[in-house]
Amino acid sequence: MSRYSRHIILSEIGQKGQDKITQAKVLVVGAGGLGCPILQYLAAAGIGTLGIVDFDIVEESNLQRQILFGMSTLGKNKALAAKERLEDLNPTITITAYPERLTAKNAVSLFNEYDIIVDGTDNFTTRYLINDASLITNKPLVYGAIYKFEGQVSVFNYQSGPSYRCIFPTPPKAGSVANCSEVGVLGVLPGIVGSMQANEVLKLVLGLGNVLSGKLLCYNALTAETLTLTVNKSELEINKVLDQKDTFQDRQSAFNCDISFNEISVEKALQKKNVQFIDVRETHELPKVDIINPVQIPLSKLEHHLEKIDAEKEKIIFCQSGIRSKKAVALLQKNQINNCYSLKEGAQAIIEHYNQN
């Protein structure tokens, strides 16, 4: 009782409203910069059933903004680490961690178990997947996205309102829009935007105020300005998604539009068995990393030496810093060569890894 007293004494919420919060089932996809504040406030508010999807692990560079984690959770899966932290914050709610990637295969059955879906991911592949699966399962979607100092918030698929595709019908060209790990982000920004998303979830649950449906709120942290744009529904775009309902589970392979989706850390790369390492630096570049026995194909010649790439193995591609290797992954994907990963921070990361271990 005392835990929620500040909610209950609000005449707009009361015990009745708090009961609605207890009965609500909310799935948060991504436990990163946005996911952390979303989850923290939803758990604190007493959302009765909370699901967390994230395949990634906690890294030190996350701690600048991902407030559920600390030194003790470095290297742990984010969904599991978040669950542990939130169970301490509120042991009266049910939290389920899904330490896996959201895919076209698992999205629909997972979404069916929840009332509201929240997008806290960091790549377009998953954002479009979440939007489409929300449409197919007819669930409201609380959307948030950030870039450097700016954020966007909206609620999609709410009471037959517009969807993400009514604003941006198709995913951007691969690699044309960077994410936080590539360009940086002000640490507090996902805190603000994620808190706005948590607020929209509570408004949906409580039936309070005006839900940001049919609106796209744009926030700029440097000017403290918001601009709220009106979004019109496109039946055409929505029907295109609904028409795929029966074949939805099979579509994912043609759907990778983000290079970041295929980035891998040196720790994870070296754990993999049956991989081919490909060095796409020019042959004169140092340091050499013979310890992992890479195939050397400079990026400039890659397209003419596709026969050197082992179709049976997963491919880890590296360069000096992790930029050319991303271009190489995009180029290989264009040539229908899948299972390719770009090694974060390149050859330097491999050398550092072996020096430390």
Partner: protein
């Protein structure tokens, strides 16, 4: 007429400004884009949508208001 165009996110890296006054005398959003691509060739490679008077509009919409915003999708989270 003089339009007041706002740029968001990574578009400001192309235009080097967040807002500008832009003299425009033709009719549709598509015409405006052509004029903007002429001024900022790199803008053509970017993905974005256009809003007029705080409402997202299609390319064949006639420009009748001065408040224009160019809005790219964000991936980050």
């Amino acid at each position: 007429m003089n339009l007041n165009i706002k740029y968001f996110g990574m578009l400001t890296e192309v235009t080097q400004c967040q807002e500008e006054t832009f003299l425009f005398s033709q009719s549709t959003v598509a015409d405006l884009l052509k004029a903007l691509f002429n001024k900022y060739p790199l803008l053509e490679e970017r993905d974005f949508q256009v809003a007029q008077m705080q409402t997202l509009v299609s390319k064949d919409t006639i420009i009748s208001e001065v408040e224009i915003a160019l809005l790219p999708p964000f991936a980050g989270g």
